[in-house]
């Protein structure tokens, strides 16, 4: 986790430095705000990764000499085939189109979104396609 943490921290701290220079030199607050927010997008994930780095032993993927046998437990549970991302996508599409063609497409779109989101969650809870 050390490298992952430092990648984010490096970007965050660098942008923070740019923010300070820009703020005092340009005296323009819009750009300084955007830069400050960007620095946060680097530093916040860095804090999360750093928090875990302190509490975890190095994972097999962080150890240069690790063998395949050191990987403990399943890598993860991966869903197989499911129609719900497609339904959700079409729902989002129809909902977005309502901004152009009027609210009626949103009625169909939002129903599809609710249906797909609930069904996908239930699918996970059943433990079928996780």
């Amino acid at each position: 986790m050390k490298v992952e943490y430092r990648v984010y921290l490096g970007i965050g701290v660098f942008v923070l430095l740019v923010t300070v220079v820009y703020f005092f030199w340009a005296k323009e607050y819009g750009g300084a705000m955007m830069l400050f927010g960007t620095a946060g997008l680097g530093i916040l994930p860095a804090l999360y990764l750093g928090w875990w780095k302190r509490r975890m032993d190095p994972r097999p993927e962080d150890v240069e000499e690790a063998t395949m046998a050191e990987s403990k437990g399943a890598v993860g549970a991966f869903p197989d085939h499911t129609i719900f991302p497609f339904v959700l996508g079409i729902g989002a599409f129809l909902t977005a189109l309502s901004l152009v063609f009027g609210a009626w497409t949103a009625v169909i779109g939002l129903s599809l979104i609710v249906f797909a989101a609930t069904s996908a969650t239930l699918e996970s809870r059943r433990g079928g396609a996780v």
């Binding site: 490298v3 992952e4 990648v7 984010y8 490096g10 970007i11 660098f14 942008v15 740019v18 220079v21 820009y22 030199w25 340009a26 323009e28 819009g30 750009g31 955007m34 830069l35 960007t38 997008l41 680097g42 990764l49 097999p60 993927e61 962080d62 150890v63 240069e64 000499e65 690790a66 063998t67 395949m68 046998a69 050191e70 990987s71 403990k72 437990g73 399943a74 890598v75 993860g76 991966f78 869903p79 197989d80 085939h81 499911t82 129609i83 719900f84 991302p85 497609f86 959700l88 996508g89 079409i90 989002a92 599409f93 977005a96 189109l97 901004l99 152009v100 063609f101 996908a120 396609a129």
Partner: protein, 565 residues
Amino acid sequence: MTIAEERSELAHEPDAGGHHGPSGIYKWLTSTDHKVIGKNYMYTSLVFLMIAGAMAMIIRAQLVQPDGHIVSQQMYNELFTIHGSIMLYLFAGPFAFGGFANFILPLQIGAPDMAFPRLNALSYWLYLTGGTTMLMGFFVTGGAAAFGWVSYAPLSSYTNSPGPGPDLWIVAIALTGFSGIFTAVNLVTTAFYLRAPGMTMFRMPIFTWNMVVTGILILIAFPILTAAMVMLYADRHLGTHFFTVAGGGSPVMWQNLFWFFGHPEVYILALPYFGIASEVFPVFAKKPIFGYKGLVFATLAIAGLSTGVWAHHMYTTGTVLLPFFAALSLLIAVPTGIKVFTWIGTLWGGNLQFKTPMLFALGFLVTFTMGGFSGVMLASPPFDFAVHDTYFVVAHFHQVLAGTAVFAGFAGFYYWYPKLTGRMMRESLGKLQFWIAFIAFNMTFIPQYLAGLRGMPRRIPVYLVSDHVTFLNQVSSVGAFLTGFSFLIWLLNLWISWRKPIAAGDNPWDGHTLEWATSSPPPHHNFTSLPPIRSQRPVWDQNHPEYADYNTEHDGTPKKGVEAK
């Protein structure tokens, strides 16, 4: 060595290995396999490339004569707007981070799939529907959006751009923006949490590194674009005044928001292709990549710097701090230069094989370096004031972006096509395509630099004989048509490989990285076994133990105590 029990369990799941899933169109609609989604992304974005390319042909046909009448002036505006929007939002980005990264990244780090497969599928559907939404603009009253891909205020206000076409464009950008954000979350999480044992961060292939950095940049840049689109929509329909002077807003704020997304965006488009070149060069030079850590840190430096250069697109607004943005823009040339030198260092003294992927990668290196130099020129405010909004800028960004996406993109396509399909493309047709594309591409854009220096503004449908740019435009147009022709050769190559397949085998190029350790195309969940990962080139180490990286110094000589054969 085989993979651990827990890893190999994956291969014994009921639906793995033999894999009795649905087939046909239902498989396409329901798959959450990163390989299927990656291929969907790749082929969809190539279709968008063909559509945008056809638009470019019409634009160039219009400019052959000083007073062209191929299309109406309104149609011309719509064409260059949608051409730019497709190329930037629907082709260059999704082809790389949706297509290549989706397919290749999990394979390169030894992962069975992406971290969030269903989110991955959703992001493809949002991309497809977003792209469709953009094209729907041509079929509504008033036509498609016609304000350029940058959508500057106040031209994009409802008064100046009425009708549903611009709204469809806004919705399309929002949908594809969300698609990009979801893909970025997936890429970063996968690279951080699903690597195989021994695959440390500093053993990840450069392509994977570049995709991680691209993902981080997407997460920084795309939300700003989506927020800006919401504000633009609110200005057009809900009576807000973010970008209108009359209501106390500021049109320049649009430019600030847009380019705060837009400049990281050009690196989001370029970094994946740098990654592809960094994979192709070492394989066809039979050497490890030169200066691995230098490349990684150069990529991170580009990412950091790219967030502080947005206003170099706005020098002529007179509202930006010129020395600050000029300095940071010029600084970007340093890490970019490091990359170019590490690529040359990789080729230097290598056993070079000029296969099609290598030719395309070299073509990328040439066009990108040329475009990069004109970029350094444009970073200087006095020069930019002279050529802002001329064809010089058009030539610059086509050489860096189109040159990168097309040449490095095809390098990657030819390189990984055997892994995608288990088939080879024909080398002779590939080389023919490369040489026509390379000559024609430069024939298209080098005259545009000269036209720009003579003062020809961008986005104009007609010009005067007295402007002395007619000949330059004619050369450019012929180049464009030839470039278009080179794509037909590619289609022919694809068709031949489909009709008369030549089996590729698992590792046709003697590749270095883990994607070449599995079958072509890879099985469900990718690997039945993994080689031990002891260097940045695990597959090379396995296939050439006498020259394995952990046994040799960087120049290939054996380490002390190791006997080379």
